[in-house]
């Protein structure tokens, strides 16, 4: 029996009610609070915050709750809110050498000014499931010391730069940095826009691309010169004041990759840079971003363009998971009209095919007789 596709409105309303019910789950289990997500699922919160590109942990936690733990859906919620916010201006470049570091490691020097500081890391844990956690047993309190205020820790790349062994990083320009959320992205894109796209880009996508460069698809010989995690001050220039005004602090993860470069007739042999910077604690993302940034500089550095990770249009057009998930999932929307058009053509082609075959068969029969 044919029933017209009526009642979309009621169907949508009912679906939303069921979604809310599923989100809540078994009502005999206490509801998850935003504070619990904020305090105990911090790395999920940080991923949503960085790929949502809005520094607000509480909103990110709320989005995770609302999205039933689907992080890309949560990122989408944050993005759709962010887009409605007014822009007051741009901050001054953050100074990561003045970061209050919670973690700082270098893979290129055994010891260095400022030292190696492991901080909270999974790196040397054994990945054995911990039954104690299932029983809500409280962990032993960790001893922490407040980092000394205003203790500048020089960046490894600055130390290399002093000897001219690494290319300069260009420094800050007078030009306002581009913003791909306020203007359409055109190619070739400047490094500012590329880095913005990578910082907002999907961790999984960048991870796979970064990994591909390590496996020979645009090999860049990377060294993790430094990874640091900590808080930096956000400063703005206020017209009429001749000093910058700090308006708050944010936590960021920074990764500086040092990569090989032979040099040329004009340029002395020097290391080159790949850079990653992400809101919150997102170390894997920062490292993958630095690998991708370096690979995308291939044209600028006169390298052969052979691999996907070097292809700016390919990488930047597909790094955004909100765009990607939208277009992939839109295949769920009705396509009856287009499908009907294909069906009609296919039936016609089939009819012609069958006709031809029948003709051929009768020709053969005639020839045989």
């Amino acid at each position: 029996m044919y029933v017209a596709v009526k009642g979309g409105e009621t169907a949508i309303r009912n679906a939303h009610r069921l979604l809310a019910e599923r989100r809540r789950g078994d009502r005999s289990v206490p509801a998850l609070t935003v504070d619990q997500i904020l305090e105990q699922l911090t790395l999920a919160v940080d991923r949503v915050m960085s790929e949502g590109s809005l520094y607000d942990r509480r909103l990110a936690a709320l989005a995770i709750k609302q999205a039933r733990g689907d992080l890309i859906e949560a990122i989408f919620l944050v993005r759709a809110y962010r887009t409605t916010l007014p822009r007051f201006g741009a901050s001054l470049p953050i100074e990561t050498s003045r970061m209050l570091v919670e973690r700082r490691i270098s893979a290129t020097f055994k010891d260095l000014p400022g030292g190696q500081l492991l901080g909270p890391t999974f790196d040397y844990t054994h990945r054995l499931l911990d039954p104690d956690l299932a029983e809500d047993r409280e962990p032993e309190p960790a001893e922490t010391a407040d980092p000394p205020e205003d203790r500048a820790i020089p960046r490894v790349t600055d130390l290399l730069g002093r000897d001219g062994l690494i290319e300069p990083d260009g420094g800050a320009t007078e030009e306002a940095p581009g913003d791909l959320t306020r203007g359409p992205l055109a190619f070739p894109a400047g490094r500012d826009l590329r880095l913005q796209a990578l910082a907002r880009g999907d961790e999984g996508f960048l991870l796979a691309l970064g990994y591909s460069t390590q496996r020979g698809y645009a090999r860049t010989h990377p060294f993790a010169a430094e990874i640091r995690l900590g808080e930096v001050a956000i400063e703005i220039a206020v017209p009429g004041l001749d000093f910058p005004v700090a308006i708050g602090r944010i936590q960021v993860t920074e990764c500086q990759m040092v990569n090989q470069f032979r040099g040329s007739a004009e340029a002395p042999p020097q290391f080159t840079r790949g850079y990653g910077l992400v809101f919150g604690h997102c170390e894997r993302k920062a490292m993958a971003m630095a690998l991708c940034d370096r690979a995308l500089r291939a044209r600028e550095l006169g390298e052969d363009l052979t691999a996907p990770a070097q292809d700016e249009e390919f990488v930047l057009s597909h790094a955004d998971n909100v765009q990607a998930t939208g277009f992939v999932e839109h295949l769920k929307l009705p396509h009856y009209v287009d499908f009907q058009a294909e069906l009609e053509l296919l039936r016609r082609l089939r009819a012609e095919f069958d006709e031809r075959r029948a003709d051929d068969a009768s020709d053969e029969r005639e020839a045989a007789e």
Binding site: Y2, R79, T84, P86, G326, L333, D338, A341
Partner: protein
Amino acid sequence: MSAPAVPAAYNFAYLDEQTKRMIRRAILKAVAIPGYQVPFASREMPMPYGWGTGGVQVTAAIIGADDVLKVIDQGADDTTNAVSIRAFFAKTAGVATTTRTADATIIQTRHRIPETALKAGQILVFQVPIPEPLRFLEPRETETRTMHALEEYGLMHVKLYEDIARHGHIATTYAYPVKVEGRYVMDPSPIPKFDNPKLGDSPALQLFGAGREKRIYAIPPHTRVESLDFEDHPFEVQRFAEPCGLCGATGAYLDEVILDDRGNRLFVCSDTDFCEERRRAGHCGAKAAAMEPTS
């Protein structure tokens, strides 16, 4: 219908006025250069990319308090996404909505052009997934923009020719490329090629919005629009062997509804408003009596 109150937290029709102005500028440029894809600073919208964010932004930028909005998806007013977008504007702009093509001032559509001829003063807003007609021949934006600039469309003709060589027909059945006012080759969005003849010389303004791809383009009223073809393989539209089962219309685009697993099927108008109007006027299809919707 009484207009629901506009929520205080968002501007009229959701987008802020600065964004609307930016989009209107892109629309004006698009109207000035028919068929040319104008890049615009597409915003993130509260519905997913692929769900019509481009069309929604265009509609939000042009809609006024006294507009009457119709939204269709696959020709139907009551498919879920059409319902959702109509509800979005009813909520954020408080505008009147309609399902009647003749009563609407703005019609947002996905994949169809209404059967009822449009009038001067009406605006048809298309939701576009991939605005670049050359995209599947050349994936790079830098290349395709150059090809448009140089009016270098040979590749498209080669593709159509290869179809003929392989299948005996041009095998493009929807999103069939057109040339606008003798200059730009344009993707009409995934409408069936059945609808292509309605694009040309229309008294209505036709606007195309692609949100994810950040492009807007337009066909101003009474513009020449030709579907690409060859002299010996002229463009032709789909024809259906039987009339609409509900209203008896011939020459309308039909959806195929599978009735059971024994091969019984029903062909009905994809344009639900057109079909209902005809039935109200007393037209009756062969299967109308048996197939009245139960709701």
